[in-house]
């Protein structure tokens, strides 16, 4: 059973006179992988650095395993961190890079040899012990950085956009490996990224940030299916966002004074009705544009009443051509209401 392991209470951070983090609150459970997701400049790395102790000019509380750590120096927190640039020490071999923290802790040579050997085996770099960082590929460097952090068995491992410098294929491989290590070794991880797909793929929980504030926290599915506000609806996924009036024009009953926005997820459109037709709204229009998304196809259509909408179908399903008149259906119950 998971329990609260990291808790951030009323965290505010000023950088160069600007309040970049505003009264932030969130909790992270033990042995989970939580992702900080948000656009560039939203404050993700700033919060991560505050947790690591690299930025101590903060107000609020940071509790790790029930203890306040906000006043401790970075070298007293027993937190691991992996930087975007790997931050390997170029003058040290892979073995010595990984052994660095153990040597600081004055572990015996026998213990160091055993622990470093084991962790290098875990990250599949046992044959690179004597190599220097300059002779490693980007993916190997990142695995050394992961090994160096994990060998100290930190209470929590912070990862600051660790995959952003890698190409797409290695990125996917490495993110799966990180998830595997996390689950196999039972580490609590806090992972920063601006890539939604990455966050969705590996996280137990996602904390979406914007403008120094938490916009929403929840499981990937929860966040995707039920965005709490317009920012979330726009940032997560590829939703159709409609005003009350626009929805009314599609035949949905919406109160006159309702100022809410509504989302229709593109993959919820159907090409025919299954069940009671009263449960559906019908969108008639013409295909304006087609995008092949690998296993899916995205159609952009202009409805007869002038709305621009996106609909996605698996590409084995029926295909349409640009300009074709179509009718798409969506369940009324699948239309989500979002706040501001």
């Amino acid at each position: 059973m998971s329990s609260i392991f990291l808790e951030v209470k009323d965290l505010s951070i000023n950088l160069s006179g600007n309040q970049v983090i505003k009264d932030m609150n969130f909790k992270i459970q033990k042995n989970t992988l939580t992702t900080f997701l948000g656009p560039s400049g939203s404050g993700k790395t700033t919060v991560l650095r505050a947790i690591a102790g690299l930025n101590q000019k903060i107000s609020g509380k940071i509790l790790l395993d029930g203890k306040e750590i906000q006043n401790l120096a970075a070298n007293q927190r027993n937190i691991g961190m992996i930087f975007q640039s790997y931050a390997l020490f170029p003058n040290l071999s892979v073995f010595e890079n990984v052994a660095y923290g153990l040597r600081v802790r004055k572990e015996s040579n026998a213990v160091i040899k055993e622990k470093v050997g084991a962790i290098l085996k875990t990250v599949n770099l046992q044959d690179k012990e004597q190599s220097y960082p300059e002779n490693l590929s980007g993916g190997q460097k990142q695995r050394v950085a992961i090994a160096r952090a994990m060998v100290l068995e930190p209470k929590i491992l912070l990862l600051d956009e660790p995959l952003s410098a890698l190409d797409a294929k290695i990125r996917i491989e490495l993110r799966n490996q990180i998830r595997e290590y996390q689950q196999r070794l039972g580490i609590t991880m806090l992972f920063v990224t601006h890539d939604q797909a990455e966050a969705m793929a590996i996280s137990d929980e996602i904390i979406v940030m914007d403008n120094g504030k938490v916009q929403q926290q929840g499981s990937p599915l929860e966040i995707y299916k039920h965005p709490q506000n317009i920012f979330m609806a726009k940032f997560i996924g590829n939703h159709n966002i409609l005003e009350a009036g626009q929805l009314r024009s599609l035949g949905v009953e919406v109160a006159e004074n309702d100022k809410s926005s509504f989302i229709i997820r593109p993959e919820l459109f159907q090409t025919n009705i299954t069940g009671d037709s009263d449960d559906y709204i019908v969108v008639s229009g013409n295909i304006k544009n087609i995008s092949i998304l690998g296993d899916r196809i995205e159609y952009r259509l202009t409805s007869d009443n002038g709305l621009e909408l996106k609909a996605e179908f698996l590409n084995q399903q029926q295909t349409f051509t640009v300009g074709k008149a179509v009718k798409f259906y969506v369940r009324k119950g699948d239309i989500e209401k979002v706040g501001f």
Binding site: M81, L88, N91, L152
Partner: protein, 272 residues
Amino acid sequence: MEKHADKVIAKIVITLISVYLVAPIIATIMYSFAKSWVNTILPDGWTLEWYLQLVTNSDFLSALVRSIILGIVTTIIAMCCFLPVVFYANVYDESIKARLRFITVLPFTIPGIVLVTGLVRVYANLPIPQMLVLLLAISLLSLPVTYQALDNAFIAHDFRAMFEQALILGDSPLKAFVKVVIPNIRVGMFIAMLLTFTSAFGEYVLTNIILGGNYETLKIYMYRLMQSNGQASSVLTTVYFFFLAIISIIMIAIMKRQGNKKVEEVGDTKKL
């Protein structure tokens, strides 16, 4: 045809410039080994007598030791003062680099004599040893070369992340600096130290005006010798020239090695 003529002209110009620059050096070196060289194209004979005289001259040895001390102490002061500043600017606050660059240009724009007059006026009545004033002044004069060499050393890696990583791995800031930063800027530091040392070692204007005859360095001694004994002076000039040449060769070798290493690194990365 026209291209050929251009090449010939270029070769002639380069040869003339080379002769103009190298001839005095060769003449000085030959003169330092000459028994006597008056009204003849070549010397009457060759000797090492002037060199023996110089190395057994206590004034020369004292001046040499003083110059070395001046060079070493200035290098230590410059490193202690500028290295932390350059580190801070590169790791924590890049915005101060523009101001630092402006400051480093000042020693070029303020003539030595103006700097000395200012220093003497400000510090003459204060209980500060003149030697200290001189050392700090020479350190400041060496700032452009020291700063640039140190700053270049920080370009190669993400030192902020490396330094912070060492903190997170449990080191104190001082230990992280010594164990992670210094080893990875050691080549740049070495070049900065050599440049600072040579500029302090060869300093003349500040030393002569602030301390004058009280602290005769090699350059001051050289100047005195020029007025009394031309041959001994050429010996000293030759020794001085080779001393600087050796330092330059060391620096070129280091930089070339670094350059080759970078090319190899790029090759290795491409392979992977």
